[in-house]
């Protein structure tokens, strides 16, 4: 995985580079907008991490230029501005995801993985599967080891999202945004309760758990 990081704060860049390296990504770094645009346009990257406030050239301007030239590399925008309209601006300019500083590295990593996965899975699927857990998207049915599992519509969507990101960490914010479709900052651990309900349905009566909690980060659905 090759990632281009366009970020003017050298220390943040340094740590991100190190952390991404440990997570198995090769990271190039550009410290200002102009340099970043040149690298992004010429280099062959799997994803871009783009800070909004940059010297030289504004992050959104870089993004618009790239998209206008037909470059479709997934872009994750980083910003210290966290308001909804800023987010809307960022996504309208062609960003694929938006993350507000300060963020946990685990959040950034999870979203980056999701972005890369999105590029790979384009063909419409009718069945999703991990281990013996199967989801039929057409019949809206879920079975584990051949036994049918009854899910509420939201639980179905939650499980579908987890199945589409099998083996990846998904964070609580990602679930709120993607499954509930709200940019929302809950005051309590409401997502955990939903997960534990889902876990009760898909894991409780079986020997091997599939839905795991990743400490300090989120959840992961994976085969044992």
């Amino acid at each position: 995985m090759r990632v281009l990081l366009i970020e003017d704060d050298r220390q943040v860049a340094e740590y991100l580079r190190k952390a991404l390296g440990e997570a198995g990504a090769v990271t190039d770094h550009a410290a200002d907008g102009r340099e970043g645009l040149l690298m992004a346009a010429s280099g062959d990257y799997d994803a871009l991490i783009l800070d909004r406030m940059l010297p030289g050239l504004d992050g959104l301007a870089i993004l618009r230029t790239l998209r206008a030239s037909g470059n479709q590399t997934p872009v994750l925008i980083l910003s210290a501005l966290g308001e909804v309209d800023d987010r809307v601006d960022g996504l309208r300019a062609g960003g694929d995801d938006y993350l507000v500083k300060p963020f946990a590295f685990s959040e950034l990593h999870a979203r980056l993985e999701a972005l890369l996965r999105r590029g790979a899975v384009d063909a419409p699927e009718t069945r999703l599967r991990v281990a013996d857990l199967e989801m039929d998207l057409l019949k809206r049915e879920v079975t584990r080891a051949g036994r049918p599992i009854a899910l509420q519509p939201r639980e179905f969507r939650l499980l579908e999202y987890l199945l589409r990101h099998t083996g990846q960490v998904v964070t609580r914010t990602m679930l709120l945004e993607q499954v509930w479709d709200y940019h929302f900052d809950p005051q309590t651990n409401i997502i955990d309760v939903h997960i534990s309900r889902l876990r009760g349905k898909i894991d409780r009566e079986f020997d091997t758990p599939l839905l795991h909690t990743v400490r300090g980060a989120g959840y992961m659905l994976r085969a044992p």
């Binding site: 704060d9 220390q11 943040v12 740590y15 991100l16 190190k18 952390a19 440990e22 406030m53 210290a80 501005l81 966290g82 308001e83 909804v84 309209d85 987010r87 809307v88 601006d89 996504l91 507000v100 500083k101 300060p102 963020f103 946990a104 590295f105 685990s106 999701a114 999105r118 939201r154 579908e160 945004e177 993607q178 509930w180 479709d181 709200y182 940019h183 929302f184 900052d185 809950p186 005051q187 309590t188 409401i190 309760v193 939903h194 309900r197 400490r215 300090g216």
Partner: protein
């Protein structure tokens, strides 16, 4: 009644309803002042016209009376000197000489039988104490008889003879009527002109005031860059506008300063915080889960997390309160939003043995920021679930009235005493009984900021027992096409 679609700018459009406009002019203080002025003016004009009437019509009356009085004196003198025959001669000479035929002379005995005069009988009518009387004269024309008014004085001569000297006052009456008519019309026209003038003046004053009101409304809705239009005539309204505009410029620069500071904080402080956090994460990863310091690192991360959450919430409230950010405003149906909210919190409530109900109609549209509304209502539901004891009940309800959408979040928990109903919206306010529960004390401050951004209201009521929170939003019409979601969502 048809309820018009209401958008933030609709408040402006509704003012162009002509009836509302008229009612507004009639209610305006300038119109009332003009009305009072008009009454005063009409009263003055009435006094003035009364004087004119008195000095014209009254003068003619008095002159007639004086002539009659003088004649009676003359005739009485004749009677004293020359007796009845002399008087009769003089009377005959007098009315024979009268060219206009307007003079009336009649001498009668005490049974009112005419002796000499140009009347064939004593006229009906009672004289007053001074002998003055009004009576009708019948004039024999060639083919018709007509009656007209006359006025005269009766004088009792020595020897019980009655002398009536009078004048036909038909022309006088006609003149009097003419004068009276002219004066009445004059008064009516004065009143009408005053009313019209008052209307025009009030209308103009009101239009200037309306411009000021409109601007202040737009400013309250968050557009601080608005200024009150000026005519350039330097009149008192221009001076007022200039004063207010200077004030607004000052407020705007202060607000911009606040925003600048919060943006700077956002950028300058959040960046090192990001570093701090990333360092801690790397440290934890290097130490590994099993290392004793790893747990400490995890705790430190949690502390940093809490700090950042509070910090972010504060910045978010400040940004929302500074207004002007309505870019994400769109038509929002609150019913599915509430349903999502109920669905989201249902498991938490169920875990606490609480019942979470939702009562709502099919749809209820407002103009707003979907995510912020969800956040604000979510905070209310969160509080209700958090502070209601196990086994309690939280009821969400939505009522769609003609102009307002009312959202109700009611619980049967401990409630909030009425004396604290404004306190709880303060930043970092924590009720005593809630100090042990997790939370930053910023939840309701954020709710209030969102409510204000939407020009909505929030009200806390006792729910006997418990708390009922009422949020009222301006109702909007359902959009003709379904609104496009501002954010592309991955499925």
């Amino acid at each position: 009644m048809i309820s018009p679609p209401i958008t933030p700018t609709d408040a402006g459009r509704r003012r162009h309803d002509p009836w509302a406009r008229t009612a507004k002019v009639l209610k305006s203080s300038s119109f009332r002042i003009t009305l009072f002025y008009m009454l005063m003016l009409s009263a003055s004009v009435a006094v003035l016209l009364g004087f004119i009437y008195w000095s014209t019509a009254g003068f003619m009356d008095r002159q007639t009376d004086a002539t009659i009085g003088a004649e009676i004196q003359g005739l009485a003198e004749q009677y004293r000197q020359r007796g009845l025959p002399g008087l009769s001669t003089v009377i005959r000479e007098r009315f024979a000489q009268d060219p206009t035929g307007a003079a009336v002379y009649l001498l009668a005995d005490q049974t009112f039988t005419p002796l000499v005069g140009n009347l064939d009988r004593w006229p009906a009518g009672l004289p007053d104490a001074n002998g003055w009387m009004h009576f009708r004269l019948r004039e024999r024309g060639p083919d018709h008889a007509e009656e007209h008014a006359a006025r005269g004085q009766v004088f009792r001569l020595h020897g019980d003879l009655l002398l009536l000297v009078g004048r036909d006052v038909r022309d006088l009456e006609r003149t009097r009527h003419l004068i009276l008519d002219a004066l009445t019309w004059g008064l009516a026209m004065t009143a009408a002109l005053a009313l019209l003038g008052g209307w025009i003046v009030s209308h103009r004053v009101l239009r200037r005031l309306e411009a000021i009101n409109q601007t202040s409304r737009e400013i309250m809705e968050g557009d601080l860059s608005r200024r009150i239009p000026m005519r350039g005539s330097g009149d008192d309204f221009d001076q007022l506008a200039a004063g207010l505009n200077t004030m607004l410029a000052r407020i705007e620069s202060l607000m911009a300063g606040v925003r600048q500071v919060s943006d700077n904080i956002a950028h300058d402080l959040r960046t090192p915080l990001t570093r701090l956090r990333t360092k801690l994460e790397l440290l934890r990863a290097e130490l590994g889960e099993d290392h004793p310091a790893g747990a400490a690192a995890q705790e430190t991360i949690a502390d940093a997390e809490e700090l950042l959450t509070t910090f972010n919430a504060l910045l978010r409230i400040a940004r929302i309160e500074s207004g002007g950010r309505r870019a994400a405003f769109a038509s929002v149906d609150l019913v599915p939003l509430l349903a999502d909210l109920a669905e989201l919190y249902e498991p938490v409530a169920a875990e606490r043995g609480q019942q979470l109900d939702l009562q709502a109609p099919a749809s209820a549209w407002v103009i707003g920021d979907r995510d912020l509304l969800f956040q604000a209502l979510g905070n209310l539901v969160d509080n209700a679930v958090k502070y209601t004891p196990e086994g309690g009940r939280v009821a969400l309800a939505l009522r769609d009235t003609e102009h307002t959408v009312i959202i109700e979040v009611a619980d049967n928990g401990p409630g909030i005493p009425a004396s604290l109903h404004t306190e709880v919206f303060r930043r970092f306010y924590r009720a005593d009984h809630s100090r042990s529960t997790p939370g930053s004390g910023l939840g309701l401050s954020l709710v209030q900021a969102v409510i204000q951004l939407h020009s909505a209201t929030i009200e806390l009521q006792p729910n006997g027992p418990g708390l009922r929170v009422l949020v009222r939003l301006e109702r909007a019409a359902a959009p003709e096409t379904l609104p496009e979601r501002p954010l592309p969502a991955e499925r």
